[in-house]
């Protein structure tokens, strides 16, 4: 029994990991793009992105998943997206917005003098960003990013609202059949995953903290 349940949960955990990986892969650069757009000279773009961040941060992720899955069909009568894809889209947009805010905070926390020091030394804007700012920026956002990334691991469980078979969905199915313990057993999977991530972030922090700010 234990082996059957474990194998079944592992299968669900695979989906969880896939969801986690894909979301991270796309939301990190998309967040950077949003941050960049928020600093653009074009004020309409700035306002639109502010609005987007407001909506995304102001509504539950579960609702956003439902909206992406059912919305197009209800509004325009389009064919529904594949379930997994719908979840991915909702997650990527949601996390990109949170990441964008973290990036903005990180950029704002770097003293203007660092840019100016680069400028008076004759570096151009690209050189200043990549050679002077980026390393300090990454270091400053590492702690808040680790927070968000760890949240993401657990948020993947929201995918079950549109019946994506991730680990918690599988456990719930067992519970529906009268077997309760697999539900609590899933905690082990989450804890191991988050444990590994915590170690990785600590390692990254150690690598980057060879200097103090």
């Amino acid at each position: 029994m234990f082996v059957t349940v474990t194998l079944n949960l592992l299968q669900g955990f695979g989906t969880t990991c896939l969801l986690f990986g894909v979301t991270l892969l796309f939301s990190v650069p998309l967040g950077a793009l949003i941050t960049w757009g928020c600093r653009a000279r074009f004020s309409v773009l700035r306002a639109a992105l502010r609005g987007l961040i407001w909506v995304i941060r102001g509504t539950p992720l579960m609702l956003q998943v439902l909206a992406v899955f059912y919305g197009p069909a209800l509004l325009f009568g389009w064919k529904v997206l594949p379930r997994m894809l719908a979840v991915e889209v909702a997650f990527v947009i949601n996390y990109a917005c949170y990441f964008a805010e973290i990036y903005r905070g990180g950029l704002d926390s770097i003293p203007r003098g660092q840019y100016e020091a680069g400028q008076v030394l004759g570096m151009n804007r690209r050189q200043i960003f990549f050679r002077v700012i980026l390393m300090q920026f990454v270091r400053r956002i590492l702690a808040p990013m680790s927070n968000e990334v760890i949240s993401l691991v657990k948020d993947t469980s929201l995918a079950r609202v549109i019946v994506v078979a991730e680990i918690l969905k599988n456990a719930q199915d067992w519970a529906a059949k009268g077997l309760i313990w697999p539900l609590f057993y899933t905690a082990v999977f989450y804890l191991v995953f988050v444990g590994i991530l915590t170690l990785l972030f600590r390692l990254a922090e150690k690598k980057l903290c060879y200097y103090k700010i």
Binding site: A117, Q119, V120, Q127, V132, Q136, Y211, K212
Partner: protein, 290 residues
């Protein structure tokens, strides 16, 4: 014709006129101090010279070459000047924390070299060398230049007395050492005029003494310098001429001996007495002296 001529420089932020019709000249090798209360445009002047701000109008002429004539955009100015006009040392150093002291010195020259490499390649091509031959020559020349940059950095670090700190990160240095490193970094660009924006105001007296010694050393080497400062002792120790700035223009100027002992204008008298009373109240030992 003077080495550096600044004519009728104006700069306003919103409604506040920070520099109004500011003019001054200085000769090559001269050291000029600019004193004055906060908010009188001293820092803005340095920022305008260093193209961190664009003045609203006026002219900046260095060594007969017009750098700014009232309408040159800042980006264009940077490109045309290359790396030989002004250098700036900041009040709070602004070293790059992720690079070693030597890394701070060599970063900008090395980045400039990367761009020069393309030029080397084009030169070699123009001489009729083959593609791969030109490539090899460009690389060889870049290696040579890199060695030169390294040697220059070592020399500058020795000059400011930081040879043993070359491989340390800025956070492990004292304030005085950080400021000396920042001076060396500014010098690596070989500026014609080196500007200091209150170089000692973040330092205690002992540490600012270190920095003052370095500035005097550079003066002995014949470097042209503009020092904005709140410390009268620094102004008196290093400068050939002192400018007192008030309300965005030069209120009074002259050699430090005369300016400090016999100020002519009422504003300067007031400023100096304020500075003195501030000094005596902060250090009771000196209040006994007249």
């Amino acid at each position: 014709m003077a080495y550096l001529e600044v004519e009728n420089l104006c700069k306003r932020f919103g409604r506040t006129e920070v520099l109004c019709d500011f003019s001054f000249c200085m000769e090559k090798g001269e050291v000029v101090s600019i004193i004055g209360g906060s908010g009188n445009g001293k820092t803005t002047l340095l920022r305008c010279l260093n193209a961190l701000e664009v003045p609203d109008s006026g002219r900046i002429v260095l060594d007969g070459k017009c750098l700014f004539d009232g309408k040159t955009p800042a980006a264009k100015r940077k490109k045309e000047e290359g790396e030989t006009s002004f250098g700036l040392v900041f009040q709070n150093f602004q070293l790059f924390p992720q690079y070693t002291v030597k890394g701070n010195l060599t970063l900008a020259p090395r980045l400039a070299l990367r761009q020069a490499k393309r030029r080397f390649f084009a030169d070699a091509r123009a001489e009729g060398k083959s593609f791969w031959g030109s490539m090899a020559e460009a690389r060889a020349r870049a290696e040579q230049e890199k060695a030169k940059i390294d040697g220059e950095a070592d020399r500058l670090l020795a000059q400011v007395g930081l040879s043993d700190k070359a491989d340390c990160y800025p956070f492990s240095l004292s304030g005085g050492q950080q400021q000396r490193a920042a001076i060396a970094r500014a010098l690596a660009k070989r500026p014609a005029v080196l500007c200091f924006d209150e170089p000692t105001s973040a330092l205690d007296p002992a540490l600012s003494g270190e920095v003052m010694r370095v500035i005097r050393l550079l003066k002995a080497d014949g470097l042209t310098m503009i020092v904005v400062t709140h410390e009268m002792s620094l102004a008196a120790a290093v400068s050939d001429r002192v400018f007192f700035m008030q309300g965005g223009r030069v209120e009074e100027e002259g050699p430090p001996e005369r300016l400090f002992s016999a100020p002519a204008s009422e504003a300067l008298k007031q400023f100096l007495s304020g500075a003195e009373s501030g000094l005596s109240s902060s250090s009771p030992a000196s209040s006994d002296q007249p």
